[in-house]
Subunit: 291 residues, 2 copies
């Protein structure tokens, strides 16, 4: 095990985090590469991964990316606003260059897997990881495994009931009342003229953001019955949101569900863990685990 | 296999359907018993199941019922409006009387399993079965297995955005805007003064019911990414609802998701199958499959 090596790649739209792990889950080497043109970035990453003979490579990628192992486009970036990357195949590029199995999933699924194996979802079999940033997305663990389904979860686009008095039309191109369009980073910017990081905790927008997140979490709870829900991403760096979300979440449930897990919302709705490494750890897990 | 026998019980609030299957899935005997006091009903059922030496018994039960195999209340009816049944343990009663393994799940989970193994979800690994009747509930299949989670899905209580102009306050004790409270059988009765079965297809209530069901299905689709969704239960005997639901569902998605499965909504949102036997077939599957 100790002389086996696994590659892990957290492929983001602005940067790529790459690491080589040994078979015991220890990091051997790690690097961060800026996301530029695909040829240039891929070449840098290949040079990094070639330092060891890899048993497998796991990739958590920005999307939209085809993650169906039996698809001919497996590992390929689909119609993307990042036009230079559109059509780029992570699978073909790294499989050819490194001659090892390559496993690809979405960035948020990888992050959920990292939380499930090493982080805040380590002790549960059913959980949810929600990232709230420029995009809003969820990775869902059911019976210890990632939920994929027809495509992958698009839980960030769940449709919500508008908060009374909120006449913001949402900033999702497709929906007037989805979570991402009402409460994601761009919505906060459009609502206030400022990025969330520049707003004080007493700004009224946070109460609206907390309301929509609470409503979405109540729905995820009803549908999925998770044992715990983890909130990460840039917006959730606003720690003051957590108590507000928990309070509003309880109000949304209305006392309907009573379980031991729900009796303490401080351990039911929690911040992300592992110091922001859930994505790269999850990519490592993708390389380690059978698909 | 052929001289093995499995018991199946679909335990409902008004009637109990019981069957004995052989190891090939053929019905050997079947009976229907009225749900009266638990002692009387249980005795009748035990007399029926004793006709064969059972390898195992599977039960899909009305709720609330404890379905956690490691709980000391496994198979027990919890705080129930049917007070005579409150505290009754299906597990203890049948395990003692029949001396065989007894596996219990909710009625809607059993029905989802029946559809998954024998019915409309047979060819997919991820699907949803929604029953719309006096109650509204979902059984969810992920990676070929039932989703249980912390408790079990309560997707019938998903919170919805009110249809403009609909001032009906819902008839759920806990929520003003959940699917069950807005569109279940009692809501239809409260909205119109008549049971759904007595209303003509041109009654305006159906448009409202279809809107809420479509909105809930859009949310289930975003969160779970199922490959197909099956609608059963008394309300869904109104066949005219299906085209309306499909049309409104497409409008809710707003063109955001494009997959081969979604390209034909007539095979994506479908009526229940197996002639209403999904519940008893699912109970048989509970007896057959490892928990």
């Amino acid at each position: 095990m100790e002389n086996e090596y696994y590659g892990a790649l957290e492929a983001g739209g602005t940067k790529m985090v790459a690491a080589i792990y040994d078979g015991n889950g220890n990091v051997v080497e790690r690097t961060v590469v800026k996301t530029e043109k695909p040829e240039k970035t891929a070449e840098e990453l290949i040079r990094f991964f070639e330092k060891k003979k890899l048993t497998a490579l796991g990739i958590g990628s920005f999307g939209p990316v085809d993650i169906h192992p039996d698809s001919e486009n497996y590992g390929r970036i689909l119609r993307s606003p990042k036009t230079e990357w559109q059509g780029f195949s992570f699978y073909e590029t790294f499989h050819e260059a490194l001659s090892c199995p390559v496993v690809i999933d979405t960035d948020v699924n990888a992050a959920a897997l990292g939380e499930a194996r090493y982080g805040a979802l380590k002790d549960v079999k059913n959980g949810l990881y929600l990232t709230v940033g420029t995009g809003v997305g969820a990775g869902i663990i059911v019976n210890g495994q990632l939920l994929h389904g027809m495509l992958h979860s698009e839980a960030g686009h769940i449709l919500l009931s508008k908060v009374p008095g909120d006449d913001f039309p949402g900033c999702c191109k497709y929906h007037t009342n989805c979570l991402e369009g009402l409460a994601g980073g761009p919505a906060i910017l459009a609502r206030t003229g400022l990025e969330g990081a520049k707003l004080t905790p007493d700004h009224p927008v946070w109460d609206i953001v907390a309301s929509y997140l609470a409503q979405a979490l109540a729905d995820y709870c009803m549908v999925l019955s998770p044992e715990r829900m983890v909130l990460g991403g840039g917006v959730m760096k606003q720690e003051h949101l957590f108590p507000r979300i928990r309070e509003k979440f309880a109000a949304e449930l209305g006392g309907y569900l009573t379980t031991p897990a729900l009796s303490n919302l401080e351990t039911y709705i929690v911040p992300s863990s592992v110091g922001g490494d859930q994505g790269i750890l999850g990519a490592y897990c993708l390389a380690r685990e059978p698909v």
